[in-house]
Symmetry: C3
Subunit: 206 residues, 3 copies
């Protein structure tokens, strides 16, 4: 997997995140504008948070047209093929999972390049992948999905840790990226397939 | 409209946004402190988000006393003339609309001066105008008003596009600003007058 | 109180904020991951917001392992001694209050060192202390606690104003810090003891 593939997967992931934001918002009686804003924040929320925390400004998606085009493509597809897209949720889910893997790697590598320590880099990888969904749920007045369902962040963290391991073992970058995305996708798919979730944690009421 | 007028309208817009935040929060059984915080974030939320995304730090309202004084004036007016202000909603609405227009232009010009592309600049103009209200609604546990009611962001975007057009046509800046604010105000007032809203967008449940 | 003590109190405050985040989230039927994220944002939310607004990036907690270790310690304590910690709420409350005082001073000093004006510095001190709790409540779909209950922000602001007064009177820094933390703790404890709260502010419905 060379750098070009990662970049293209990043754009595709962005478009798919935008579609998923629009589909979620579309069940909330919002108008077209609201739905599009939710699509945008779902798509770029994670990368934006990562860039802000690390001090990369203007944040990445403001530096060119690429991400705007990716998001806009996601919108057009959803608007014109609404019924079709809603039926394709399984396919979307796969791309969404690939997007999560790619976003994790991009966040991780960006953080490492900026010289933060590995633990922080893992957190930045996860942040890139999950914060968009957290903002989406907060804006639509829901408790974020990943706080009570879905092995999602855990998949990102596990993948990121393996990335660091492979890097320490001097694996070539392209191989490392391929393995990491594979691990993240595998964990997520297995957790869905076997209905595995993280246990609820409860503390006694005060 | 010279630079001074824009700046003064910016301060007045900030004060009016603070008042609108306080009025909204005042229906939520919050204490005086909570109400004031909601007033502050309504007033400076949009400009803050714009500055953070573009990398302008310390964010504008931290660079002097002007915005704090504008917000504080808004508070004092609301505290001492609560009943009067609540009755003046129509007048407030007009100033609020002027504020939206001015915030859009300021965000747009700031972004263009920083060298981002026009599409991003339009988004930054809209961000300046609408994010304060989005944060206000999120903090008071509501789905943001502009996601399901009101032609508001659409007015900003349309105005911003006309600004770019007039700029490309080499209109003098002052005239361009005047026309843009006029367009934004007109669209918003007409949409309210004729009860025009953006259609709800719904997707099938999963 | 020399610089070392402030730093150690900062770490302890961070751990206690993480514990308080976990305890709050633990009543919301979230999974272990969600609970931990809420713990993290409660612990670092205030300092992060302060750093972003002031332009300090990477934000402080990303610059080393110290804050991550503090937060992780808080997690371990809560996970392994859940029942004990839940019973210790009174002791926790004391440390929480100390944390608030320390966070206020750190935010205030950081802002003053960056050359912003005193009014902004007071706001940054308060931001450091309260924003973590605001994000915690927003993510768990509650109207932030400090907007309708608890003398908390008021204690921070009062403490910060006294800090500025003592600084203007040329008190030694260590004495000033000690007095300020003392004032913040005293106001908060007295307000709880005598059940003092800020009056609710209501405006007529539109």
């Amino acid at each position: 997997m060379n750098i070009d593939i990662i970049i293209w997967l990043d754009y595709i992931g962005t478009a798919v995140f935008a579609i998923s934001g629009v589909l979620t918002a579309g069940t909330k009686k919002l108008d077209l504008f609201g739905v599009m804003v939710i699509g945008v924040v779902t798509a770029i929320g994670g990368g934006t948070m990562r860039d802000l925390l690390l001090g990369v400004t203007p944040v990445t998606w403001l530096q060119g047209y690429e991400y705007l085009i990716a998001i806009f493509s996601g919108f057009l597809i959803t608007l014109f093929f609404k019924r079709f897209v809603a039926k394709m949720r399984r396919t979307l889910f796969l791309f969404d999972t690939i997007g999560i893997g790619v976003f994790t790697i991009i966040g991780l590598e960006k953080a490492l390049n900026l010289g933060v320590n590995p633990a922080v880099a893992v957190i930045m990888g996860m942040t890139s992948a999950v914060v968009g969904g957290v903002i989406r749920d907060t804006l639509t007045n829901e408790v974020p999905l990943i706080f009570h369902k879905e092995i999602y962040a855990t998949a990102c963290i596990t993948g990121a840790l393996f990335y660091l391991l492979f890097r320490w073992l001097d694996f070539p970058v392209a191989l490392n990226e391929l393995l990491t995305v594979g691990i993240i996708i595998t964990i997520r798919l297995l957790s869905i397939r076997f209905n595995i979730s993280i246990p609820v944690f409860e503390t006694p009421e005060s």
